[in-house]
């Protein structure tokens, strides 16, 4: 939590971060360009499309980049929150599906309620469902000592297949034709945050949540206890006289609830109905988002937007530069690898310096 206030240090960090940022881009660009050339594509056109697709216009930035970042930020926060407590919740994906399912179900059941009631109800349902989805692995860890890495992964499959079953069966649209639910009524949808864009209030919600978590982890007693448990459960228990089990319980369920809300926000802000392939694996990408952010809530916002921009740019690479999805996937993975490598280098440099 300590900050070195000396200006010289601050300037050094800025220079260092500039150099590393440039190096990250150069490295990625270099390797990406070689790969694209090998595939017979124009790397300059690809880069231009990527940047334009992510930041090239107000519409691209708000309606695509930021919209894409919302589920990444929310699941990233869920993962960061759990990891800070030493809970290895790999189950954000399943919790997200549970949240989306509950949000749609409640939204359709209570479709006649006014927006002031229905929207909070829909989002709360996703929170509760995500938390409940985490309850099974939580109890298995705390009561039976079963490692949560495996149980949360398994619960992901249950969540994904449950959603698939529901859209084919009980929650299928009334016409019974396509595997999807009916759309949420207007009252259950998140309104636009910026008029004329697709950016919905979920983005503001994720910023608020990140801020709240950052403050709570840093200044609140509970947040401190959670960090202590994550850093050393033994010391938290012995020196801190902290009820470690209680902290783990709250952290695990809280993480599940946040991931669940990511699902709720996605259906109520973007898709309005539940589909089988709602998530392209946000719950897993979230782990990279959270780790890259140093498990820091404010950092998660930054890395979430970064990943959102990357995905938005990837779409534009297909549309505008005619590069097939599989090549785009490779470039996307390259960027993540380069960023991870440089992050690691940076940490080492930082350690030596301090």
């Amino acid at each position: 939590m300590a900050e070195a206030p000396a200006q010289a240090v601050g300037r050094m960090r800025l220079v260092e971060s500039l150099v590393l940022g440039a190096a990250a881009l150069a490295l990625t660009a270099g390797v990406g360009a070689v790969l694209l050339l090998l595939g017979g594509y124009d790397p300059m056109a690809a880069a231009a499309a990527m940047v334009r697709g992510a930041f090239g216009s107000w519409t691209a930035f708000t309606s695509i980049t930021l919209v894409r970042s919302v589920p990444l930020i929310l699941t990233g926060l869920a993962v960061a929150f759990a990891f800070r407590a030493g809970v290895w919740n790999i189950g954000a994906e399943g919790q997200l599906y549970a949240g989306a399912l509950a949000a749609v179900w409640v939204g359709l059941q209570a479709a006649t309620l006014p927006p002031l009631l229905l929207l909070p109800l829909v989002l709360s349902a996703s929170l509760v469902a995500g938390g409940l989805w985490a309850l099974v692995p939580t109890l298995m860890r705390l009561r039976l000592g079963v490692g949560e890495v495996i149980t949360t992964i398994l619960m992901n499959f249950v969540g994904i297949y449950l959603a698939a079953y529901m859209v084919h069966g009980p929650l299928q649209e009334r016409r019974g034709v396509f595997p999807q639910t009916d759309a949420l009524p207007e009252a259950g949808r998140l309104p636009a945050l910026l008029p004329g864009t697709a950016l919905h209030w979920g983005f503001a919600l994720s910023l608020l949540l990140a801020g709240a978590l950052a403050v709570a982890l840093r200044y609140s007693r509970f947040g401190f206890q959670l960090r202590a448990v994550g850093a050393s459960p033994e010391a938290a228990s012995v020196a801190g006289r902290i009820d470690v089990g209680r902290i783990l319980f709250v952290a695990f369920l809280g993480s599940g609830a946040i991931a669940g809300m990511a699902g709720g926000v996605q259906v109520s802000g973007v898709t309005f109905a539940l589909y089988e392939d709602l998530s392209p694996g946000w719950g897993y990408t979230a782990i990279a988002v959270a780790l890259l952010a140093g498990l820091n809530p404010a950092g998660v916002v930054v890395t979430g937007v970064l990943f959102g921009a990357l995905q938005a740019g990837a779409g534009a690479m297909q549309r505008d530069a005619g590069i097939p999805a599989s090549w785009v996937g490779v470039v996307e993975a390259l960027v993540i690898l380069a960023v991870l490598c440089l992050d690691r280098v940076r940490r080492r440099v930082g350690k030596e310096a301090s």
């Binding site: 007693r221 202590a228 801190g240």
Partner: protein, 498 residues
């Protein structure tokens, strides 16, 4: 002196900004037991790791048998005949002794038959007796230590280096170990004993080297030196008063200074708990009065951890009653795991305990300015060597970590402080600081329970002494207040009804 088996010259090694070794020299001759002494943070462990190929020096020269070598890995060290016995056990608890020995010698594919023959041969030669087919987790610490040594000896090293081997041993076991080391040296090996207890090293060594701040400051034979000179070399203060460091009059009983009249602060009656890895508690009675230090002496694994946990209010008795005060200070023997969070800075480590105290929180929020002030106060008052309260605990030496913990737990102790091996692994100055603080606390009217495997410490500090053996606790009568008397009770050899 070409006769040295291994010679280290001008070894330097830094970790970030810290120079752990800055010009350390060490020469081990065949046939000698060589003591390597130093306060905590003096560089002993680093030197040990350099010898074992676990750390590569930044500068300096290592010779084995007169030829310069590079020890880049433990395998290199082995191939040059250097065997290590670590302070921390490196055994797999679930496996038997023999399986552990096989792991140590041939890797996973070792043939137990051949290993058994080799082990029996070494046991026959050295008298190191260990039950080969017992699972290591069933063994006491003394036995485990012997397994570690046996493991090292199986490779027939010409140079044997032991890091703090007596930390977990009873006086009798330590004496047995020293005899063994002398025998091993008698066979023409060089034996190096890394330790911080001056009297032990003097007892067994032919020659010794003292490290201070990463440099060898004294190398001489035992006859040429005195305890006082060694202590001065270790501490680096010519005016050091040996008595103030707790070296004088070790076994002198402090006696009971009228505390019998004061109120009982904590009391356990007939407390039983199941053991966690050692004995549990088997019907323990103890009462502690305000202002007295009650010493609990015993060999590790006889129920001390459970006793400490019950007294600290962290473990409920399965039967019997525990009457404890509201606020109990607790100094865990496991500094780095239980006492501190390594990745937290000093303020956060103080906050770890203080987050429970009134005045350091308002509602759900912590009052960080107040906590930082408290940490600053602890740092200043207890002379913690750290640049600021924002220094990470992991970058402090063991002694300074303990100063933080002691400072914090003194504040946490309302009526009772439980200290569990509070000076284990500390240098003399740091240990003396801990002792002074415990005494000062008692004279301020706080009850102190000092649970320790260090008999000298218990004898020196305690108003009353109890011996713990196999989960049972017995008061040591005034007449038995000697190393031998308490030692025999610790081993449980004395008839319990006698």
């Amino acid at each position: 002196m070409t006769s040295a088996l291994v010679r280290l010259e001008g070894i330097e090694r830094r970790f970030g900004a810290v120079m752990a070794l800055s010009g350390a020299d060490l020469a081990l001759r065949p046939g000698e037991v060589h003591g390597v002494l130093g306060a905590n943070g003096a560089g002993k462990s680093t030197l040990f790791n350099v010898l074992g190929g676990l750390l590569r020096p930044d500068a300096g020269r290592i010779e084995v048998g007169g030829k310069a070598v590079i020890l880049a890995s433990p395998r290199d060290a082995w191939s040059h005949g250097i065997g290590l016995v670590h302070q921390h056990f490196t055994l797999v608890p679930r496996l038997t002794v023999l399986e552990n020995l096989a792991l140590g010698t041939r890797g996973p594919g070792g043939r137990p038959g051949a290993v058994r023959d080799a082990a029996l041969e070494v046991i026959g030669r050295t008298g190191l007796s260990v039950p080969l087919d017992e699972a290591v987790e069933e063994l006491g610490v003394g036995d485990r230590q012997r397994v570690e040594i046996l493991k090292a000896l199986l490779r027939d090293p010409r140079i044997l280096v032991l890091d703090e081997p007596t930390a977990v041993l009873t006086p009798a076991e330590a004496a047995g170990l020293f005899d063994l080391l002398r025998d091993l040296a008698g066979d023409g090996r060089a034996v190096a004993l890394v330790a911080h207890k001056v009297d032990e090293v003097l007892e067994v060594s032919d020659r010794l080297t003292v490290l201070r701040d990463g440099t060898s400051v004294l190398t001489c034979s035992r006859e040429e030196t005195s305890e006082a000179e060694i202590v001065r070399a270790m501490v680096g203060d010519d005016d050091v008063d040996a008595a103030a460091l707790g070296l004088g009059d070790r076994a002198g009983p402090r006696g009971v200074v009228g505390q019998h009249e004061s109120r009982i602060v904590a009391e356990l009656v007939g407390v039983r708990v199941a053991g966690r890895g050692g004995s549990g508690l088997d019907g323990v009675d103890i009462s502690v009065r305000a202002g007295e230090i009650v010493g609990v002496a015993g060999v590790d694994g006889n129920g001390q951890r459970e006793l400490a946990a019950v007294l600290a209010g962290r473990l409920a008795p399965e039967s019997g009653t525990a009457r404890l005060p509201e606020a109990v200070g607790f100094i865990s023997q496991d500094r780095s795991r239980e006492g501190l969070v390594a990745d937290f800075d000093l303020t956060e480590n103080v906050a770890l305990a203080f987050q429970r105290k009134a005045g350091f929180r308002s509602g759900s929020w912590l009052r960080w300015e107040a906590l930082e002030g408290a940490a600053e106060e602890i740092r200043r008052r207890h002379d913690v060597q750290a640049p600021s309260v924002r220094t990470l605990a992991s970058s402090l030496s063991g002694g300074n970590q303990q100063r933080v913990i002691v400072g914090r737990e003194l504040e946490m102790a309302g009526d009772l402080l439980v200290a569990e091996n509070p000076t284990r692994g500390l240098d003399i100055a740091a240990a003396a600081f801990v002792h002074e603080e415990l005494q000062r606390l008692a004279s301020d009217g706080v009850a102190v329970v000092l649970i320790s495997t260090d008999l000298d410490e218990v004898l020196t500090l305690s108003h009353r002494i109890m011996a713990i053996a196999r989960g049972g606790l017995r008061e040591v009568e005034e007449a038995h207040r000697t190393r031998q008397g308490v030692g025999s009770l610790m081993l449980g050899t004395d008839d319990r009804n006698g």
